[in-house]
Symmetry: D2
Subunit: 257 residues, 4 copies
């Protein structure tokens, strides 16, 4: 076995006169034929999405792209204030904060549900699933951890994206085991904790992406594509109507020593 | 004027029971109706793209998403090797390298062409444009700078993405002033320098995005959305078939002290 | 309580004619009097280090600054290849990979030991400590987690930094409860697992920093100061003798499609 | 010549039982003997600093470590709000903004002065230097560019760090050609522009580092070591007295849609 054996990527390669992406000729077989969303799906799963899958993935990415001023978009704008020569650096700074608190929960929910679904024997009844979920929730709560996909600091009585994701998935025939199980998770959690937390948008998004055919371990990454779009929009707005410098000077001025 | 006057974003906002993006209700007016590409266009330009514009933007994003092993995708994989808990950090590390040498030239070309096009008086003849371009090229070459959009380290005799971008733009009726001017740039550059450099894919991409209605200053950012998709695919592949640790150990082993 | 009440930092502030850092006048009370290491210690703990503490902190930072080609330094160099205009971005890319696998274990060990030390009642005998450690190790092993501070992928029979850290701490009178407990951790781990793993340099570093007065939660950050120094050196070497582009082209050339 | 010929680093390497840094045995020859500042100097210049050089480098790093709330430290804190699991990511986000506007000017000034000093023939009189500087300033102003090292948005009548840097350099016998030339730059700039701008702290810092023996191209990187120390202190403070979430919620609350 040669030393290079490990150097392999299915994703793409190029020669002086051609570029291959996903095993296809980029110029003639992908450009003008796939949307960016379809290409992302293909690169991650090695299959093109069905039209229904594509619609759900786009709906979820649209749901997660942006909410205005967030810690991420503020970090992007403040980074641009200091380094306007590096647009990519400012976007990278904002993405770095899309971790366990914001956006990351989409991937955490996807993995949590995927593990439960694959642990459920074929032919499990709803009662079987409830028992499985109850055990998982008790384990998390015993370790002092939160149940992924539930609760939101702002949308306390319900995240407006959640019912829309369920509605769209239903309409596309993609309301599958992960979205269904997430509803059971919310119910069982309310029973065990005595406290009803709504399914948040990130959690529904993660479940919908898995039901649309994406592997759970890809979800943390895939949602970053949407967030990049939002951060880029913030940067363009910051170029035209900057707030970074004023925000910094206000904070410095108001700070108690 | 209150202190908050400067804190403003058109991009989005949320209240406990609603999320507004681009002045529309996210759940009912955007999710399920727009693709991610369309949302990105809307967020950056404040207009929805026409179908032709959407097709060109998607084709360009597909063209720029990935080429396999690049400095960016290797940085993403090596970062994941050291910090597998931070998917977003690994993507951010890869994006940080999408600067003046790779990917950045799309934005540089867009700005360069936009400046020239807006400097050309209405009714300029092709000869007028050639004179304008010649002056700009002489200025760049006099300063020892490269002309944006020309030449490629691998695709020396022509970048396969370039003719495809022109073909698609033509088919959509969007082969506009920036794509046309880029051809003149390549011709005039060959005349002035005695050396014919082909239009590279990044350059054609930048010109096509401006002809599709995006402002030049947004291009450096918009192309990052595509690259994020590519880097996420590399991360998922790295989870399944890791190369980061082997590459590091091989480099360390082979290095001369 | 005014809205600004929460905006507070002890670290520093400035007015048009003065800069205050750590409650002192920067120009007259800190510049020329403290080393960078002493300032870092002061900023993190709000006390100046004793000379012994300063020596241990410097020894540990020197131990962790660099080891030549690592995933981090390769990511820094590859990022510079694509974005040479952004020195700070290249350093940031390298730091992003200093996570749970590399360098992060220093902080993980510091927190692990700090928790154990503060759980041990005053007057605990060595046998009490062994029982406490055994319980903690069994818990980690039961969860399938590694014991922080033990084992190294390269230095399998012993990390050369570890005995030196113990020797220096002893000489400075700072071989305290955390460094001592780490030895017990290694012994008890060998007993419970039947497999002797040496104390690694990162683990000894984390223990030594806590014995030198730094809080455990600061250690993950403090060691990044050292790593920044190493990454900056790699960047300067990359400017003079670049390897990034050659490494990329070699990988691309050797990759199987 | 073997394929590996290009893979070379003077900085460091390791074998199973030893670690070599800067050509010395890390454990026995560097740990406990050098401070972090001395190691950084050694790694970048391949020489150990004299005691005078070390003192100036430390004074400059202390000068640049932190000023309280800045765009960089706010970006670090906001990133931690979203991704508390990734201390290194939060530091990286803050460093990414240390670009052309903040901190970067230290390196820009160093390079500008180094170029002028090396362009001045041996035996140049002060009048010769003034003429050289005047030409450089006219060139920059003709291109609409700022003269590096002059002016500060907050310290309009003089940066308190500047006279201290000159004083310390004088005391150490290191007030060399770059610091001297920077004074001439400020005077000539005032003559040519009719507007007196004080030498800023970053500019004086950059000049002092070059007079202390660091190459100009290393300065942009070296100052990041100091800033990392400041950002780490902000993170530890953010862990104890968080402001990120409150700042975000206040901005979102106050923002006009």
């Amino acid at each position: 076995m040669s030393q290079s054996e490990y150097l392999h990527s299915w994703i793409g390669s190029s020669t002086p006169d051609s570029i291959t992406v996903a095993g296809r000729d980029l110029a003639s077989e992908l450009m003008g034929r796939l949307t960016l969303t379809e290409l992302a799906y293909l690169l991650v799963t090695r299959r093109e999405p069905t039209e229904a899958q594509r619609r759900i993935v786009d709906a979820v990415l649209v749901a997660l792209a942006d909410h205005g001023f967030t810690p991420s978009s503020l970090a992007t704008r403040l980074t641009y204030t200091g380094a306007p020569e590096s647009v990519q650096g400012a976007v990278a700074a904002g993405l770095t904060g899309a971790g366990s608190v914001f956006l990351g929960p989409a991937g955490d929910t996807a993995l949590f549900l995927e593990t439960l679904v694959s642990a459920a024997p074929a032919g499990s009844t709803e009662d079987d699933l409830r028992a499985l979920v109850a055990a998982a929730i008790d384990r998390l709560r015993g370790d002092g951890q939160r149940v992924p996909g539930l609760g939101h600091p702002v949308h306390r009585d319900g995240d407006p994206r959640t019912p829309r994701i369920y509605e769209l998935a239903e309409a596309e025939g993609l309301l599958g085991p992960h979205l269904r199980l997430l509803r059971i998770v919310a119910e069982v959690h309310a029973e065990r904790s005595g406290r009803r937390l709504p399914i948040n948008g990130a959690g529904a998004a993660g479940a919908a992406l898995v039901d649309a055919g994406l592997p759970g371990r890809a979800v943390r990454g895939v949602v970053l594509i949407a967030r990049t779009a939002g951060l880029v929009a913030h940067l363009v707005e910051e170029m035209d109507e900057p707030i970074g410098k004023s925000l910094w000077l206000e904070v410095e001025h108001r700070a108690r020593p």
